[in-house]
């Protein structure tokens, strides 16, 4: 992945999570991955288009998703209902949008698709041999993995 794209995503994830969750956010070591990977339970996907093609996935366990949704709504949510889903979708939107804004300032033009949310057990993402940058974020509510796979159009 182009070096210039990395920081905006890392910064955006850090900033937004700090802003909406409060508490301490720790970033894990970044790494690259290319095999199909299991999804922890809830995955929000935002597609990217424009100068580049690719997608960003926000991956977390259902428990984490519930806690994050509860925290963001300032109320204890009992089940993963429409409100909770909308909240997680919105979080994905916030982070991606901020990253894209930062990239725009650097001169890269990206468009994003509306987020799609996937939930379920034993899910696996297998996009054929696409190399993804993994940004693990550790929050008080649990682990959120940002999985960015984008490449320049040729």
């Amino acid at each position: 992945m182009r070096v210039e794209y990395i920081n905006p995503f890392v910064e955006a994830a850090y900033n937004i999570l700090t802003e909406v969750l409060g508490g301490e956010i720790r970033r894990g070591e970044l790494y690259l991955k290319s095999t199909s990977m299991p999804v922890m339970g809830v995955a929000a996907l935002v597609g990217l288009a424009g100068d580049v093609e690719g997608r960003v996935i926000f991956d977390m366990s259902l428990v984490t998703a519930m806690k994050i949704a509860s925290r963001m709504n300032n109320e204890e949510l009992k089940e993963f209902d429409d409100l909770a889903k909308a909240t997680i979708t919105e979080l994905a939107n916030l982070i991606t949008a901020q990253a894209v804004t930062k990239l725009h300032d650097l001169g890269f033009r990206f468009d994003l698709t509306p987020p799609a949310l996937f939930t379920g057990e034993n899910m696996e993402i297998s996009d054929h041999e696409v190399e993804a940058l993994i940004v693990p974020m550790e929050t008080d509510q649990g682990k959120v993995e940002v999985n960015v796979a984008i490449r320049d159009r040729m």
């Binding site: 182009r2 696409v130 490449r151």
Partner: protein, 439 residues
């Protein structure tokens, strides 16, 4: 020796002796070394086996024949004859050896002896302390002497020999026996020993430095071994630490690694480049590190192909190194004159490349073991990268390069790397640099 021992036995009272023999409370496995009888307490013997072709382990004492796979357990094999400095017959390549497998505490050893005799039952009381006159074997390894049916057995103290104290004891025989016994054997087998050493060094390089010996670099590894062997003390030929591995690889790396290319290197590189009238020239720089290589390449290619649009895809899987590559800036003093026309001085006094050069390079955080989404290439520069991939990845990478390289393209590897011979590559040498093109 046995006369003395018999006298020793005679000194004991005759009646007492009769009583001792009556009770069998101690069993021992007897065997012979150079025609003399020895015994080991049966409680320490796990089993008896015949085996050969032990796996040689470099850099161990001469009495360690190697290791052996005993139904899944890897155990060290010790030759007692060498350990006790008893002359041994020349070993045949595939001959099977008589082995006694012994247990000491948690550890299992195999010891090689001449002939295994039988199990003898005796009375513990009949074991007599060793007499200092037993010259063949260092007295501290002898538990005692036992007489049975007219034969005298020397009962070995295996715990002493292989037990907790093994380390300090081993050092003594290793010191004074090695020159006598091991040396001539080593001479005979010199070639094999060197090859073994090299293959072992190859394994340690992989473990310590992630450097994998393959047809790409084996010529250098072999050449390097000779100078390494001459430079190191005989017992320190093997690599014991990461520092050793680094030292071994010292000299492997290509000129101007991690810095701007010198004028000479740049010129030699330019003279390797084929004439190319294409409007677009694609270059793949695998393992660009901090970016010095990619910028050097950009400047060299700018001079060589002034009219073409050159695009350099520079990859590295080290995030820290490549993060700053797009913004690389250097002190004025370290800007070689060759690069100065392409650089501008920033507000803080540091020099950075101008936009035209920057626009030529696309730095990507990318692991070349993953899918490589690059177009077909005119030039591939991958210096000292392939050697640090596992063998499987190496062949995959070479196949990938072959696939991505245009028919008139060239590949430049590290100074000490080469495409495997007879695999469809033409060599083109220019000074210090070799390029490879498709046959």
């Amino acid at each position: 020796m046995s006369d003395t021992a018999v006298k020793e036995a005679d000194i004991q009272g005759a009646e007492a002796r009769a009583e001792k023999i009556a009770v069998v409370d101690f069993k021992m496995v007897t065997f012979s070394l150079a025609g003399k009888d020895y015994a080991i307490d049966i409680m320490q013997v796990k089993e008896i086996a015949k085996a050969g072709r032990f796996t040689y382990v470099p850099n161990t004492s001469p009495f360690v024949l190697g290791v052996y796979n005993l139904r899944g357990d890897i155990i060290p094999i010790i030759d007692l004859r060498i350990f006790f400095n008893i002359p041994t017959k020349a070993r045949e390549e595939d001959a099977l050896e008589n082995m006694i497998i012994i247990h000491i505490g948690e550890q299992t050893f195999g010891i090689v002896v001449d002939v295994i005799d039988k199990v003898v039952g005796i009375s513990k009381n009949s074991i007599q302390p060793p007499h200092p006159i037993f010259g063949d074997i260092n007295i501290k390894y002898i538990h005692g002497v036992v007489e049975n049916q007219g034969r005298l057995y020397i009962l070995l103290d295996v715990e002493r020999i292989f037990g907790v104290k093994a380390k300090e004891i081993e050092e003594i025989p290793a010191g004074d026996m090695a020159p006598k016994i091991a040396e001539p054997k080593r001479e005979e087998k010199k070639q094999t020993r060197d090859e073994l050493d090299i293959s072992f060094i190859g394994d340690t390089l992989a473990a310590l430095a992630k450097f994998y010996v393959s047809p790409v670099n084996e010529k250098w590894v072999t050449d390097r071994y000779r100078s390494w062997r001459d430079m190191r003390p005989a017992d320190e030929v093997q690599l014991a630490s990461e520092a050793d591995a680094r030292q071994y690889l010292d000299g492997f790396y290509s000129p101007d690694t991690g810095t701007f290319w010198s004028q000479e290197y740049s010129n030699a590189f330019a003279s390797l480049l084929p004439d190319n009238q294409a409007k677009q020239i694609n270059v793949w720089n695998i393992g660009c590190g901090k970016g010095y290589e990619a910028y050097s390449l950009a400047v060299t290619l700018r001079d060589k192909y002034p009219n073409a649009r050159v695009r350099i895809y520079a990859n590295d899987s080290d995030l820290l190194a490549i993060s700053n590559a797009p913004m690389l800036s250097v002190e004025e003093a370290s800007v070689p004159p060759l690069y100065r026309p392409y650089m501008t001085k920033g507000v803080n006094g540091a020099w950075a490349f101008n936009q035209a050069i920057k626009d030529m390079i696309l730095f990507e955080y990318h692991d070349c073991n993953n899918q490589n989404a690059v177009p077909n290439m005119d030039i591939i520069v991958s210096r000292d990268v392939i050697s640090f991939l596992s063998l499987k990845q190496q062949s995959k990478m070479i196949a990938e390069m072959t696939d991505k390289l245009k028919d008139n393209g060239i590949i430049v590897l590290g100074r000490n790397e080469a495409m495997p011979q007879h695999s469809g590559w033409l060599r083109n040498v220019q000074g210090d640099i070799v390029s490879f093109s498709k046959e």
